[in-house]
Symmetry: C2
Subunit: 183 residues, 2 copies
């Protein structure tokens, strides 16, 4: 697990923000030479593959400032301090879509950009959805548009690059695999 | 494509690095309120799903400073200035694994962390691999260990979190889907 380990000589904190911190570490490489690593620290996130009783996938369209465009994604959000991923998953699903799920099952976790960031994302699958009567408030800087999309539509949206992020494309391949496997 | 667009009022450059730049934008939200967006700029990257004639997946184990551990990933690397993704894919495959491919086909592209980063990754599938006689040099701060892994082993490595990043897990689901589809 520590093959080719790089020893930290010094950590230079560059920025502490609301969502990310940035640091540049001076490291010693396995060959003894010095190098620098630019690192983004992130609290981690969850994303939810939520399926309606009709088999559609619940998604949200939102503007992504980093990309300069709006894309269609599965519901997701970052972990709050001390919150377990499962609690975050249920909270974000309800905040962004107004749904509560009868079942919420862990699928997999992965690092999104291991070359420079420690962001990990925990993926859950939600089924048995019902609309809550009093929907929780979203963060005050969040604006999303709810959509329920079939697997076929989702594939077409990938082609059009309207679905264009790792977690959502992974979710669609996961569902396609599950649907073939189940046949 | 611009639904809920956030207008940039001011861009504060925080850091310009070798791999990432960091900025904090003052924005106007769709409801007219002011907010801030923390953004990481990245040149983009490629990753290659390279299959041997035996059907194994070519992977590399490398230490990831951001995670503090080594993980097993499909070969990948960032785009150099003015380089097309296809050229980067062929170059990184050869540098990291010593293989050239008879065919290199585009699969999909996606943003890794649209909430804070503009990193896009272009995924290629490589087949017809042959070992090059004089392998290109890797970057001088790169140390990788080559592995050729079956789909079954890969699934077990996901369970063990030795494979633990978005692009590699996505590649494995893609291959599982293709293998079922082809049956």
């Amino acid at each position: 697990m520590n093959k080719f380990e790089e020893k930290t000589v010094n950590t230079n904190k560059i920025y502490e923000g609301r969502i990310i911190d940035v640091e540049v570490d001076d490291v010693t490489l396995p060959n003894g030479k010095a190098s620098k690593r630019e690192l983004v620290r992130h609290p981690g996130a969850v994303a939810v593959i939520a399926l309606t009783d009709e088999g559609n996938i619940v998604m949200v369209e939102q503007y992504r400032k980093a990309l300069g465009k709006s894309i269609i994604e599965i519901p997701a959000g970052k972990l709050e301090d001390g919150e377990s991923p499962e609690v975050t998953a249920a909270r974000e699903l309800e905040e962004e879509t107004g749904y509560q799920a009868a079942s919420l099952d862990f699928v997999v976790s992965y690092y999104t950009s291991p070359g420079f960031a420690d962001e990990i994302i925990y993926i859950y699958k939600a089924e048995g959805l019902r609309i809550v009567e009093e929907q929780r408030q979203m963060d005050e800087d969040e604006f999303v548009d709810l959509k329920e999309i079939s697997l076929e539509e989702a594939l077409s949206l990938i082609e059009q690059e309207r679905i264009h992020d790792a977690k959502t494309i992974h979710a669609i391949y996961y569902l396609m695999y599950q649907s073939l496997k189940g046949e």
